[in-house]
Symmetry: C2
Subunit: 812 residues, 2 copies
């Protein structure tokens, strides 16, 4: 089953790297019987992979293969599977030989059949799913359920034992691997990277993670770059570089490449075993040097470059066209098995080429030779608790909030930068986990810009590259992670959380869209794991979005986008939460809540600029617990009747404008009964049937009334509020102001004026919507209009906000 | 103004690359007077950069600097500016010396002051903005307007002459540069990449673009990797690698590095000039070899590594802390100039250090020595038409659609794969532009998977890496671009469109979220350029989203996300359009429309799986022109009275289910007057005030009625339809079905059943919502419920859809 097309030496440059361990050079270290037993394991995994894609009956081929044994819909990815099986087989060998604590990230997770096959072989599958036994009946179930309605997904997925990584989207394997290795000094994280995935941006960036890996406190990452040459329909870039150029690239990433190349199984087993041993010896030496000898030089960690044919051992040709070793092996090489007798014959021949009789006994149990390389208990890759991180999770030691709370005797009398206040709390969380090392703060070069720099007093920034005397807060052993790649930050944090630790991602609000697609996958993961009883809950993925849309004084339009909240709220409601704390104490309360929570993606939007303190710590806790509530002190209701109008807000800047509007109304229309409502937990606006935090209509009407005008000042795109509240009784009376894509480099107040979110416009909205006010308050309306005009004139001349705005305070 | 901290030789590895051209090795090629005039230009640009950040009066320092000359709000980025000024000065030199046709992409576009300064110096700024004259009055305007309310943004922006790239988000400079170079054989695209940006994923991936650049038909890209050592608050990874490791990396990317290192201006001028000459000589030699000698070996294109201090020539220390050469120089080095006399003194000293009297005459005009290096006319970087691509744009030769139209005698009688039909049309567009070379198709390894492979008959896939005999459709001169990086695809296409050409991006629907943040920036760019009269309209950015949420039979949940439409519809309505053609002919009509359009981002969602043909080409054109309309042939209205219910749909799969529901209703409830409405252009649902395509209430009510139940089957998240239609009179009667995040690897019909979008559920919705039907049609409702149950049982057993569904046809 060789093809003429697979010939690595036909690459333009055949110069070999001196570190290369290939079939020509590899010493025959393995005993022949070990080669045979490794090969038996590999063949068994390959057999089981093909079986999952094709068979719904006759799993052991105890009778000749007939069309009705074959699934009616053939779905799955064969191409990458033999390579994954090879890596799994050889990881088994070294885990057992060295008693390693190991986890593997399967980047080409499309090859679900491979990882499922190995889990079934090692017994971790049956342990997790007792109905899929390690015998003929279980094998039949394993085969039928794969990619079958009601069965299991075709990729490595949350349902797959031993996995923390869905291999569907591609790009995140290596950053996940690094995240898993952080603060796990005894863990080896192998990471198979497909040459397709290697073309993605997130993967390309994450190679530089080695400049952030502490050889003392972190474990090791062993990347296995699998060059099988093709994607769905194209050759891959890396597989078509001259080997010297690829080596330059990997060395440039800080790695020392070890090559394994071939298509003869026995030769490849020998050279893969040698490569694994070489890599693990080097890793052990680096760790020893750093931990015992105090060496601080950054190691050139090994990377294995595995070059084997796509769809290796599958049909060489189908319908006269080469398949093995080409892109045609990507999914299902024989597509018409039920209708085309030649395809059926080829499938049977293919399955029998693995000699199943040698691999499984009559009851379908793997024979001892097949299992010789398989480790025991939690050493098995499908049974490691690191892949079910909730099992290892400890409560985060959170300090009492009162220690950081801002003193608030009366609302709006003082100003604080909310994120700076939070920074003090995070510093103490960092300090309290100094020994346990299970909390990390990540951010794309923005921790200080986001005013969280107090944390540096408890932990510096992880850094293993060169240093200069002028540097500050860099720390070989630091747990603050900063790289200018939102993708890498997200991947690190996901890997860290999925392996049972805690963390926070602080990010500019606009640029968190860079990870829109990554967070989709994480939410999908959580939605699925929440329904799997064997998956223990993990710490939530917490975003602190700051440097937000209303305060981009330095950067303007390119840095203005509040739409991440919209994106998140499209996703599975059981897994997503969004909070917009309006001041420092509410931010503390929300942060405390999200850091304690499990299995959510929490989005917290909060400002870093000085912001009025509205609530005391006690009030803040109560308000955040309700998620939305009336601020009686800010309104003019006397309790004797319904309010004339409700002024509502969500977000720090809108809250300030709403309160300024309330103050204007109190002053100029003292008879108007105004209710002020603040919303922290935005999902509260949804009906209870749509989101676990949603309100009943009774609650909603109690807060917003069923029939009075509601002027809602919202932090983001105004139609989001309508999308959440469209079913409410009083929805027709809801009028929302928010960001409508009008932005540039300008002052804070000019931003709100430009988007019609300013206090003057809000007062005008009240006048326009409360019955009878249009006439009664015509003069006030004109006064408001004049104030907006005054703003426009002033700002063009002075470049600053009107003094009456800049110096405004709450006088309630 | 040297700091002790800037010392490249303190990097761990001081081994020099043999290609390195640094201050120690550079031959003194330049005449002394040329060094002096280059330095004068550079100092002038630096002076003007500082002036923009700080001054609102006294631009020539004709009097001692006083606090009132300084802006009240100091906003901008100094750190990168001197480096950009250096590159611009030296590009000027080589453009003039070699009469180059050049464009520059300024990756560190935060340094807006630098590019504005250079544009003003060369006169392109005054040419574009005549009120900002090249004299003292204009200089005063240039200074005051910068980052000032009502003025110009602080970054390189659409408003900046000579730019196609906003340097705010970071990550896209190099892919933009490649996109600009494609099919522009005589163009040199210089691209400054900051060492911060270089850490991002999109940038890291885009280095491999050199494997797709055709030295025959494409121009050259000259990356200038600017290592100034720091981001906002951290050292950069690449600046802290040993030089040999950085060289390995760049060689691994396929480049040949040329180093320029230093902090002595005269030395750096000499070595930069030498590096530029070396690089351009090599580029010319590679192009000659490919074009004249037929050499096909991939060139190792040069890259210049420029290592100069951050904030070079700025204050060495401020308040006792080092600033020049550190991250503290990132934004505004002296922050308290109006209040702190020492800061004011330092600012004046800093400004005067450039010796403005030598640079500008008494009227503020640049002296001849300053302008000696500046090229003329459209050779100036601020005046090249390639940066205002609409000027170069030609109409795309689009064939008559009838040639590809599917024959439709009666609706629903035949099936076609819509994207495959479109592929034939795209093939002919590709063929018709074979000589002009101004159309490209990009996609992440998915052109064939998306069934557009007919295009290969007209153009193969661009590929300059190694090839094997088994490869198909690879082409050194191809205009189909496939790399497994959505970021790179998007960046290439943006660069291509912005320089005045045409294209289409085909992408899996779920994974287009990978470029959410990139498309944000492109939309922001378009929104701004649409308001700039000097910017000529460019071809729209067209997405074809296929392999969509309802047909992920192979891949399941990870590949299911229809939310890009929601993301796009949050953005500036003047620039965004979304189409959901329900069949092949409507897809042809929509494709024709979007390929003719200008200055939009068009999102087209269409299936690749066999789909019923509903409309003839003529009907399709009329339907698409309306954007939404009644399909009379599908309903049971007799025109004598209002319908009892409206069945509406948008998207191919929902349309099939709606029609199947209409058929069930016709059969079982023949007396019910059913109207069937189809929506292609989703923004039609918005009010006219909210979107240019929005309908008036009169139109809307005419289509959907003001008071009848509307059952709307939508392709994506159902609440989007509510968000668009919440203001409509009959909104209370609108009931939307769509995708609600329930997905896995399963059959097409199981997907719609799981999400309550199936025909049986839609019929039940009608029964539940039409007054009086609940009783009258109770039996039918039960029959529908039974059908859903039958489905659940059947699929678990057979793994396929019910025969009655699989074999369904329209019998209208």
């Amino acid at each position: 089953m060789r093809t003429g097309t697979y010939a690595p030496d036909r690459c333009p440059d055949t110069e070999r790297n001196p570190m290369s361990v290939d079939t020509q050079q590899a010493p025959a270290q393995l005993e022949e019987d070990e080669v045979r037993s490794l090969d038996a394991h590999w063949r068994a995994a390959n057999y089981l992979s093909v079986g999952q894609i094709y068979l719904m009956a006759n799993p052991l081929l105890t009778e000749p293969l007939r069309p009705e044994h074959v699934k009616p819909r053939l779905l799955g990815h064969w191409g990458t599977s033999p390579g994954l099986n090879l890596v799994h087989t050889h990881l088994n060998r070294v885990i057992k030989a060295r008693d390693l604590n190991a986890l593997c990230i399967w980047g080409p997770g499309h090859g679900g059949p491979a990882v499922l096959a190995n889990s079934w072989l090692e017994g971790s599958y049956s342990q997790t799913y007792p109905d899929v036994t390690r015998d003929a009946a279980g094998m039949a179930r394993l085969f039928k359920q794969f990619s079958f309605p009601g069965g299991v997904p075709s990729h490595v997925a949350p349902e797959t034992p031993g996995s923390i990584h869905e291999g569907g989207e591609l790009g995140y394997s290596l950053s996940h691997a690094y995240g898993a290795a952080l603060d796990n000094p005894d863990l080896l994280v192998a990471c198979v990277i497909g040459d397709g995935e290697a073309e993605t941006g997130p993967l390309a960036a994450s190679w530089h993670s080695d400049k952030f890996l502490d050889p003392v406190h972190d474990g090791a990452v062993l990347p296995v770059l699998h060059l099988n040459g093709y994607k769905i329909a194209n050759p891959t870039v890396l597989s078509r570089l001259p080997e010297s150029e690829l080596d330059d690239l990997l060395k440039g990433y800080g790695h020392d490449p070890i090559h394994v190349t071939g298509d003869d199984p026995a030769d490849v087993h020998r050279s893969m075993a040698h490569a694994m041993d070489t890599a693990l010896d080097r890793i052990a030496a680096f760790q020893r040097a750093a931990r015992e000898d105090g060496v601080t030089e950054r190691p050139r960690w090994p990377v294995i470059v595995l070059r084997t044919p796509k769809g290796w051992t599958g049909p060489a040709e189908v319908d006269g066209r080469p398949v093995e070793g080409t892109w045609r092996a990507h999914q299902v090489p024989l597509a018409a098995v039920r209708d085309n007798p030649e395809h059926l014959r080829q499938l049977e021949q293919w399955l029998r080429s693995y000699r199943p009789g040698e691999l499984f006994d009559a009851d379908g149990r793997p024979r001892p030779q097949v299992l010789a390389c398989v480790p025991e208990g939690t050493r098995r890759l499908g049974a490691t608790p690191h892949a079910n991180g909730g099992l290892l999770l400890r409560e985060l030691p959170l300090p009492p909030l009162e220690k950081y709370a801002v003193e608030v005797d009366k609302p709006g009398a003082t100003l604080h930068e909310p994120t700076r206040v939070l920074g003090d709390m995070l510093r103490d969380v960092m300090a309290a986990t100094a020994g346990r090392r299970d909390f990390r703060l990540v951010g794309p070069d923005e921790t200080a810009s986001n005013r969280l720099q107090a944390v540096y007093a408890a932990s510096g920034k992880a850094w293993q590259a060169g240093t200069l005397d002028v540097d500050e807060d860099l720390d070989r052993h630091g747990r603050v992670m900063e790289i200018l790649s939102e993708h890498t930050c997200q991947g690190w944090l996901e890997g860290y959380l999925l392996t049972g630790r805690h963390g926070l991602f602080s990010c500019y609000e606009a640029f968190v869209h860079i990870v829109d697609s990554m967070v989709n996958q994480h939410i999908k993961w959580l939605r699925t794991t929440r329904r799997l009883p064997w998956r223990a809950p993990i710490a939530s993925l917490n975003y602190l979005l700051t440097s937000h849309v209303w305060r981009q004084d330095h950067n303007g339009f390119s840095h203005q986008d509040p739409g991440f909240v919209d994106h998140i709220l499209n996703k599975s409601p059981e897994a997503v939460r969004v909070y917009l704390p309006p001041d420092a104490n509410t931010l503390l309360s929300v942060a405390d809540h999200v850091l304690r929570s499990r299995d959510y993606v929490n989005v917290v939007v909060a400002g870093k600029q000085p912001c009025f303190d509205w609530l005391s710590m006690e009030e803040a806790k109560a308000h955040c617990a309700r998620g939305a509530g009336i601020w009686e002190w800010a309104g003019t209701e006397d309790g004797s009747r319904a309010p004339d109008v409700v002024l509502a807000s969500a977000g720090d800047v809108p809250t300030q404008e709403i309160l300024a509007a309330a103050q204007l109304l109190r002053r100029y229309l003292p008879g108007l009964a105004v209710r002020v409502v603040n919303v922290v937990d935005i999902a509260r606006l949804l009906p209870g049937e749509e989101h676990p935090h949603g309100m009943s209509d009774f609650e909603f009407d109690g807060l917003f009334t069923a029939d009075k005008p509601v002027i809602f000042a919202y932090h983001g795109y105004p139609w989001l509020i309508h999308r959440l509240a469209y079913r409410r009784t009083g929805h027709r009376n809801l009028h929302v102001r928010g960001y409508k894509e009008i932005g540039t480099t300008t002052t804070p107040f000019d931003m709100v004026v430009s988007n019609d979110l300013d206090r003057y416009r809000l007062v005008m909205d009240v006048i326009d919507r409360v019955p009878g006010l249009a006439v009664r308050a015509a003069a006030l309306r004109q006064r408001m209009e004049d104030a907006r005009q005054r703003h426009h004139v002033w700002i063009r001349e002075h470049g600053t906000d009107l003094p009456e705005v800049a110096d405004w305070t709450w006088d309630g």
